[in-house]
Symmetry: C3
Subunit: 141 residues, 3 copies
């Protein structure tokens, strides 16, 4: 069977990491699925999802490394083309999302995701603040 | 149930992004699956799949950023070892594919993938031109 | 149906790539699943899984590129906060794992994963040596 639910995430900064683990676990619990795979998907092209530790200092390191590799203020054809649109100066966010991608698939056993001790499901905003959504699907029995 | 179909992609340049969304949607439609997860997989080590906007300018920005991070003309043991094989001067493509990876898993509801307004499924050639394939699998009911 | 099994991986270096393809294939074979999707997941925040060629020279190139992009010896808030803990000087590993991520989902047909000729499933240790685990789940029928 498949159970899908959408959750809303409100971001408050241009670049921000938000721990959505508890909200994903709530969906898993409502799904009634005991064994299977949990797919987390964000339907955006300038935000992504990943899995890592719940350490806000690490999140700052992560965002700093990401934007050192693909700078917000870089020269991009995409930004140039839309240069009169302040909201479209976001090629960095598109490129980083292309690398990190909008999905993770986590195994589920006995109604629990097989997350390690330090693993949390993280929503990574790369062009906020915005209202975002995340689709949580549970496939299994 | 599971439905799998292979699609062919012909790339024309060394580095190229190709929008394969319509072809993946055709497979989904033939699968008859209404609710589940769609897995897109490319069985290559020098090309990958991702999801982002259908903007060819952005695709150029993306390929430029990728090869700025991992240069085509860098010094690599892999290239050195195969230095008499022009087709094997492709460590950049292997490394980038290791980062971006050959798969995405997209939730499906009511026979439609939960792609956002701007999300397209993109094939990323990193060592073309070549004949490539993409496996599209739909799992669900 | 879903079949899940955990495999152990012992890493011997700080940075190391280990080919786990045969061990994942053994689980697939024991699962009895003929058609579906194979999910490979590592429950760690400083190691990841990817897919690429079985070339140890390429693996060195890969680790060199990864740590050129996100240096082991960089300045990180995470490392600074835990500066008296030698085992926690690993922000590079967390950040790279956030990018590469701990999972891959591979389609399975007739009891075989649809891996291309050169594709191998690789465990990427970014903060070893450690005892690691990998969860292999097979979903299908």
């Amino acid at each position: 069977m498949v159970y899908t639910e959408s959750i809303s995430v409100k971001t408050e900064r241009r670049l921000q990491v938000i721990d959505i683990t508890h909200r994903v676990l709530d969906v898993l619990s409502r799904s009634g699925v005991s064994d299977g795979v949990l797919n987390v998907w964000t339907p955006h092209t300038t935000a992504c999802v990943t899995v890592n530790e719940a350490d806000p200092d690490l999140w700052e390191d992560m965002l700093e490394a990401f934007t050192r590799l693909v700078p917000v203020e870089g020269r991009y054809r995409h930004n140039e083309k839309y240069r009169w649109m302040p909201r479209e100066q976001n090629a960095h966010a598109h490129i980083l999302t292309s690398m990190v991608k909008p999905c993770v698939s986590i195994p589920v056993q006995n109604g629990r995701p097989l997350l390690g001790t330090w693993q949390r499901i993280l929503f990574v905003e790369l062009d906020g603040p915005r209202s975002r959504s995340v689709q949580v699907s549970v496939l299994g029995g």
